[in-house]
């Protein structure tokens, strides 16, 4: 393990907007946190809660879902379907004792490489502050109770919502 803690983010990128935004960020040589590990899906609407939970359980510190802007979805409104699930899922995660910011949703059109890069940077910094998720301790052994640190209010204020 290295000295500084590097959070790991699983990023679900939709094929038409946000994956292309990520491609563009690379093509434009925009440097951003290398902490996001990408999965391409055809539409953000494909991201089912199971996939998010799986990622967190397998050791990810956070999950980023990126889709087309509302009204611009390649599949008309798949992104809105995912937005609905996201709201619900976030609530459920917080009941598990998982901080809300560990799941984020953003919109990035194919021309917004910088928006995607900035979102990854922001989320990485936020997770760095939160520290590792340690699903096995927090959720399974912690039985849904927040860690002592959180309860004592040592962690920083919650970030403002992304969407």
């Amino acid at each position: 393990m290295s000295d500084t803690y590097e959070p790991v983010i699983i990023g679900f990128l939709c094929n038409w907007c946000s994956y292309r935004a990520a491609d563009l960020a690379g093509t434009a040589r925009l440097h951003y946190s290398p902490n996001m590990r990408p999965i391409r899906v055809m539409c953000s609407g494909r991201v089912e809660p199971d996939l998010v939970l799986k990622a967190l359980r397998e050791g990810a510190d956070g999950v980023l879902i990126a889709g087309c802007h509302p009204g611009e979805c390649h599949y008309i409104e798949g992104n809105l379907k995912t937005l609905r699930r996201y709201e619900l899922l976030k609530r459920m995660l917080s009941q598990f004792g998982v901080e809300e910011e560990r799941l984020q949703i953003i919109w990035a059109s194919a021309s917004e490489g910088s928006a995607l890069a900035e979102a990854v940077d922001r989320m990485t910094e936020r997770l760095r502050v939160l520290g590792p998720l340690r699903w096995h301790e927090t959720v399974i052994q912690g039985n849904g109770h927040l860690s002592a640190e959180v309860e004592m209010g040592i962690t920083a204020d919650p970030v403002t919502e992304e969407v």
Binding site: G26, G45, R46, E48, G59, W135
Partner: protein, 665 residues
């Protein structure tokens, strides 16, 4: 599982190898379970790189292939082809994007290498569960919809029609011609716009392969490449096209005058029943119901009484037409920047500030002043004219982009002013003169030699408040001359604002209708800015002309012809193969809850009463996977994006973290 995976890591010259330790990654990959062979190579996409894969598939009996290289949007097809040539189903392949999504985004070699390993592990874990898929053949309907009848639409329609294919040309206004029909001369050749445009308009009107639907708008779009079903609303003209001879007696007899804000840019009047301009195609006039005395007050009918063939029909209703096409070319054009948004330039407040569109009409021999350059009072000629470049363009307050045509048409204006009024002074206020085009720079020099003045600087203000006697009764252009290094005030009689190009006000809505994205300025996005400039992200939908971005007539014509050529290529193929990424429902597992039925944006899932289960209409399914994610019984599977594949990819992507975490626990 006994799959044999081949893993190939591309150096991409130094693009990847400069940041990712490719040799170490290849060594590591070769040690992973199920990996039969792992190699790194300078350029995997080269024919030698592809040969390597093909040879390994045959020699080692590989059953799965992973290539870690650039974006799948770049070379997925290439490597699928290599697999196919070696007898492996192309869908038993997965790409890890370690260039765009990794090496190009960081300088940190350690983390980039670690991330590349994770990406490759994700791909290995995923590809194990890939299933062989067969592309789905789709027949291409040979008809094409061209939306927008400006020079782009006219060109595209004629190319297709001359190639023997049927075209529906849909235009919102009552005549085709678009903006070009308004212009006087075209730079840099100075040939008259109407002289080169109207013959092509007539050709469109008479072409047996073109169904011209003017005064019409697209209401809805269904389907996909090869098979689009388009609903078009043909608005009522209140003129029976089959009877109208285009004699224009109705227009002559109509007692109601209306300011013509569209074609004549508000400089003259038209009637309530009118042809937008004399050379309009088709030749049928249209009644403007908002201003027609009969529609407003219920009385008049002068046009109906006077019409010799009796073509006026006040009862006419909008028609809804269904057309079926295989491809669509969007040529919806642009609008000009509204200079009211820059109040300091005085447009609308100072009478003798004109837009470039107004000036084009004024200087046109068939325009409101019969080609005379006159002040707003319509009697006096200006003795001095200021032309302000970049109005609304190259300005972070409005549009950051360069509109690309304004420099050249401003130079053309300078030439025309000097030609019509040889005694006058002309001042061009510019930031840079962008004369990059064939014979453009030569034209710039010609205009300079003709005696036009050039002042470099963005104009701060146009005012009628005089500070000196010279400025009395004049418009004063205040500018910081960046070559002179000082503020200057230039008194003139007339100011022309060279307004830039913007997307149509409803570009975003039109885009949504066809499932297209717009960039941050609302111009349609092409599939690739260099390699695929006329296709969009939606297969079968092309764009050409200024709806894609500011461009002049030559580029517009070139793009329109290019889009037509691409469509002809699809038509020529007759049948194309579509990605088999579709959803399917396991009827035994389906509980019949029908949640998916309503979720599907394409109405591709129906409920089968007999089976008490839902089923997917494969032809309509676009493969988004929204239903797969929503099914509470997990009865729906999305080909190539199955739950198993994605779950395994997650495991692979987190292989190092999971190991560390387990140690921690």
């Amino acid at each position: 599982m006994s799959e044999k995976v081949g893993v190939y890591i591309c150096h991409c010259g130094t693009n990847i190898a400069g940041t990712v330790d490719v040799e170490a990654v290849a060594q590591w990959a070769s040690e992973q379970p199920r990996v039969a062979i792992a190699r790194d190579y300078k350029f995997m996409c080269s024919s030698l790189g592809q040969d390597l894969i093909e040879a390994d598939i045959k020699e080692f009996g590989l059953t799965r292939v992973v290539v870690a290289a650039c974006s799948p949007n770049m070379h997925e097809k290439t490597f699928r082809g290599a697999c196919e040539r070696a007898g492996l189903n192309p869908f038993l392949f997965e790409m890890a994007n370690i260039r765009e999504l990794n090496s190009w985004t960081t300088n940190n070699r350690r983390i980039a290498t670690q991330k590349a390993k994770a990406q490759i592990m994700g791909a290995i874990e995923r590809v194990i569960y890939h299933q062989p898929l067969e592309p789905i053949p789709v027949t291409i309907n040979p008809n094409t919809l061209v939306l927008g009848g400006g020079i782009a639409g006219i060109t595209a329609a004629l190319e297709l029609a001359n190639g023997g294919h049927h075209v529906y040309l849909v235009e919102r206004e009552s005549s085709i011609g678009g903006h070009m029909a308004q212009w006087d001369k075209t730079f840099p050749t100075l040939d008259c716009a109407a002289c080169i445009l109207t013959p092509r308009m007539v050709e469109v009107g008479q072409h047996p392969n073109i169904t011209l639907l003017t005064y019409s708008e697209v209401e809805s779009v269904e389907g996909f490449l090869g098979n689009f079903k388009i609903t078009v609303r043909k608005k009522a003209r209140f003129v029976k096209e089959e009877l109208c001879t285009g004699c224009a007696i109705c227009e002559e007899k109509c007692p109601k005058k209306v300011l013509d804000e569209v074609f004549e840019a508000g400089l003259s009047n038209r009637k309530a029943i009118y042809l937008p301009f004399p050379q309009a195609v088709p030749k049928y006039p249209v009644i403007d119901v908002e201003n027609c005395t009969y529609f407003v007050r219920g009385k008049c009918k002068a046009c109906q009484i006077m019409c010799p063939p009796g073509a006026i029909d006040f009862e006419q209703r909008d028609e809804i037409l269904q057309i079926e096409v295989g491809n669509v070319i969007l040529t919806t054009g642009y609008k000009t920047f509204d200079p009211n948004r820059i109040p300091q330039y005085g447009y609308g407040r100072l009478a003798n500030v004109f837009t470039s569109v107004e000036f084009e009409r004024m200087v046109n021999a068939s325009g409101p002043t019969a080609g005379k350059i006159l002040l707003r009072d319509r009697t006096h000629e200006p003795k001095s004219v200021a032309i302000i470049h970049c109005v609304g363009s190259r300005d972070e307050n409005f549009n950051e982009y360069c509109s690309r045509v304004c420099c050249m048409y401003s130079l053309k204006f300078a030439h025309l002013v000097r030609e019509r009024l040889p005694e006058s002074e002309v001042y061009n206020f510019y930031i840079d003169v962008r004369a990059a085009g064939k014979r453009y720079e030569e034209f710039y020099h010609r205009v300079m030699k003709e005696g036009a003045n050039f002042i470099r600087g963005r104009v701060a203000e146009v005012t009628d408040v005089a500070r000196t006697l010279d400025e009395e009764g004049k418009l004063v252009v205040q500018v910081f001359d960046t070559l002179f290094g000082a503020q200057r005030r230039i008194p003139v009689d007339m100011v022309i604002l060279s307004v830039g190009m913007e997307p149509r006000h409803d570009a975003r809505e039109v885009g949504q209708l066809f499932g297209l994205g717009c960039d941050s300025s609302n111009f349609f996005i092409e599939r690739h800015p260099k390699m695929d400039p006329v296709l969009t992200m939606v297969e079968g939908i092309f764009i050409a002309g200024a709806c894609q971005g500011p461009m002049a007539i030559p580029e517009t014509v070139a793009q329109a012809a290019a889009a037509a050529a691409r469509v002809i290529s699809f038509i020529g193929q007759g049948t194309i193969m579509m990605e088999p990424i579709k959803a399917s429902i396991n009827a035994e597992q389906c509980s019949g809850c029908r949640i998916c039925n309503n979720l599907c944006p394409y109405k591709a899932i129906i409920y089968n009463e007999d089976q008490k289960a839902s089923e997917v209409i494969t032809a309509l399914c676009q493969g988004c996977g929204t239903c797969v994610a929503a099914c509470p019984s997990a009865a729906i599977s999305g080909a190539h994006f199955t739950r198993q594949q994605l779950m395994s990819q997650i495991e692979g992507l987190l292989w190092d973290v999971r190991e560390a975490e387990l140690e921690h626990v």
